[in-house]
Amino acid sequence: MNAADFVSSLPIAELATVLSPGSLILEDEELRPYECDGLTAYRQMPRAVALPETEEQVVAILKICHRHGVPVVARGAGTGLSGGATPAPGSLVLSLAKFSRILAIDPEARVARVQPGVRNLAISEAAAPYGLYYAPDPSSQLACTIGGNVAENSGGVHCLKYGLTVHNVLKLRVALCDGTVVEIGSEALDAPGYDVLALMIGSEGMLGIVLEATVRLMPKPVTAQVVMASFDDLVAAGQAVADIIAAGIIPAGLEMMDKPATHAVEAFLQAGYDLNAEAILLAESDGTPEEVDEEIAAICAVMEKAGARQLRVSHSEAERLKFWAGRKAAFPAVGRLSPDYLCMDGTIPRKHLAFVLARIAELSKQYGLACANVFHAGDGNLHPLIMFDANAPGELARALEFGARILELSVEVGGTITGEHGVGIEKIAQMCVQFSRAELETFQAIKTAFDAQGLLNPGKALPTPRRCSEYRLTGSAR
């Protein structure tokens, strides 16, 4: 369906009857904060924003919108980096911000049942008194919501060992586009029928609205230590990562930063990173003190052999957090260096890391834009941060082109255009590179199975065949 088809009419009066006063935003000034998510390069004002408080209200809103053919864009904290929560023209934004209650923590079953607007970190905080925590830890975990995490299948620095959102959500309560509520998954370890849970996780708000999530909690590791290693070249650092894994070690976290990234971070918060290193590796071990001792020694041995020229092991919790602080603040640190930045998100087979980074350096020269790289090295998820100034004529367009080339490069080496941030509107054109026409038709058929009218988050993730033909012809991202 064409976005323009939706602009018809928003049934404001009808919506107002199901919402409490003040929960339907219509004024431009108040709508402004909803015009984009973390990808600020794309903006679109919504027609209205609804802030329901109860499941009944969500169901009623969906029924009204379904009846009138009004598109609905779910929104959590708006920290998404692919434009997933950016409003469609003429759409109603459905904010889940008021669904911020933790409904139950069951230490016996090691599960938490939470509303979709609960912040990622709030779950671990609530579970802490029982010695438990929620493992996936996106760097945005202070702000981002579990509803958004489910929609994007978010990861974090610990997902090599503990998995992504899809490995840690047991059950969802979901409202379909017509307001029908279904329960998907189960508190048991599996559920009968198709794995609709896997389909819903990472579906970018296009298949249903998450009303409740039941997540798995893990016992907090007794202790954790991190090794920080410096390398003189990226190839050696990449080889160290492969060697660690080939040695049978799965670190709790395994992250790499290149020189521009460490310099950005040091300028921001003085985490003590080696500024002469071409690459820094952070490898964490967690578990019982015995386990951690054994693993840290093994990791250090592999790193040394791979040519690390400096190794530092954290000896206190404070020091461990300090080592991590730089990595976790990499995006904002780059954000301070440059007026604007684009965060890319391809995943590549690790063996191609050196090749990909060299190509990115060439592209950086070609487009005349600086680029820092942070890398979930353990699982091959690369975040090049392209720096630009949106106020300088032509720079945004150049940055977008540069980004598109990186995505194509990821596909070319056998990887994917997005590891954890989602397709949204940002990477919709590159879906045509990664998938064939028949594969895209299958995605569309799945979408139609859930949402025949295409009302939930239209214009995201799934390119139209026409768009793909144009992209293939012109090679242009937009």
């Binding site: 370890l189 559920a191 198709y194 794995d195 386990e291 979930h376 699982d379 255009i417 590891g419």
Partner: protein, 350 residues
């Protein structure tokens, strides 16, 4: 190595009757009865790519699990979810289609958790690829994982990429004489602690625990937990492949429950795995009673093995809610609009 994809695609495109997909036949007993012309996919074999340091293996779906596990073992790696091998003929495709995991599932995750990518033929005979050979991939809907456990009703699997893991450095097994209620209580306590418990099995008044992990961690856990150490590799393999005498029963229920579920009031013999989350039951109790108990506790009950008449009467899998069944039907139609593949094997409606 042989590539039969074109041949299968031609069969699908010209099919006038439903196709029953079969590879090693090790799971013929599993699922609802399904009839149609046989599509034998066991010849589509070969490991296509294996990079130990990438933790990924890709193979054609007809490849025997035994071959894959041997290739992994050479590099000190494994399929940590320990899929059951009901016979030496068990294949990779059958493993994914059935979606069954073994003893270590509780600590290492399931088949579905380890599926990274698939290539399949849909109901129009089109070759489609989803996911890939990388561990993190959110481009498009997660079709690869949707196929795990779909019992061949959505398409013919051609290739699968799996995440693999290093074999644990050390393993040890402990035994405790405990009644069912005490065993469940003990398991719940242990699982709240960061102990390297890889698997558990309670049967006949004996709780067996398998520890796996770093050498020092396993040692420390042995000291802390007590019990009687036993050499048990055979035991865990027999549990995995269901060769223990318990599994000889002709009618066997599989109850998947929240781990913290209490002792269930149904007469019969029990074997409990996954820290309480998987309970096998041999019982005379009617299906309705078994299903009602499982549902009341937030789980579901599968008639894992049973006579065909009983399967037809009560269905192998717990019924789905009406809106969820409608979604299933529409998903089935999205992949297989003519209803060619394994009709009825998962649910009569599919």
């Amino acid at each position: 190595m042989s590539d039969l994809a074109q041949e299968f695609a031609a069969r699908i495109r010209t099919a006038e009757t439903p196709l029953v997909i079969r590879a090693g036949g090790s799971k013929d007993f599993y699922g609802n009865p399904s009839t149609g012309e046989r599509l034998d996919v066991s010849g589509h074999v070969g490991v296509l790519a294996y990079e130990p340091s990438e933790l990924v293996i890709t193979a054609r779906a007809g490849t025997k699990l035994a071959e894959i596990e041997a290739v992994l073992a050479e590099k000190g790696q494994c399929l940590p979810f320990e899929p059951p091998r009901f016979s030496p003929a068990t294949t990779l495709g059958g493993m994914v289609a059935a979606g069954l995991s073994g003893p270590r599932r509780v600590s290492a995750g399931s088949v579905r958790d380890h599926v990274l990518g698939v290539k399949l033929l849909d109901g129009q005979g089109r070759e489609l690829s989803f996911g890939g050979q990388v561990m993190k991939n959110v481009a498009g809907f997660d079709v690869s994982r949707l196929l795990a456990g779909s019992l061949g009703t959505l398409g013919v699997l051609l290739e699968v990429s799996l995440k693999v893991m290093p074999r644990p450095a050390t393993e040890a097994s402990l035994r405790f004489e405990l009644g069912q209620a005490d065993a469940l209580k003990r398991l719940a306590e242990w699982q709240r602690q960061p102990l390297p418990i890889a698997a558990s099995c309670w049967c006949d008044g004996v709780l067996s625990i398998r520890l796996a992990g770093a050498h020092k961690a396993v040692e420390a856990a042995c000291r802390k937990m007590g019990g009687e150490a036993f050499w048990a590799d055979d035991f865990w393999q027999d549990l995995r492949d269901q060769r223990l005498p318990f599994f000889g029963a002709s009618t066997l229920w599989r109850l998947s429950l929240p781990a913290a579920a209490p002792v269930i009031d149904l007469a019969g013999q029990w074997l409990i795995e996954w820290g309480g989350a998987l309970r096998w039951l041999i019982t005379e109790a009617p299906a309705q009673a078994v299903r009602a108990q499982a549902a009341a506790l937030g789980g579901h009950a599968t008639l894992f093995r049973g006579p065909e008449t009983l399967k037809r009467q009560v269905g192998v899998f717990s019924p789905l809610s009406e809106p969820l069944m409608r979604l299933h039907q529409r998903l089935k139609a999205a992949f297989d609009p003519k209803g060619l593949f394994n009709p009825g094997r998962l649910y009569p409606e599919l």
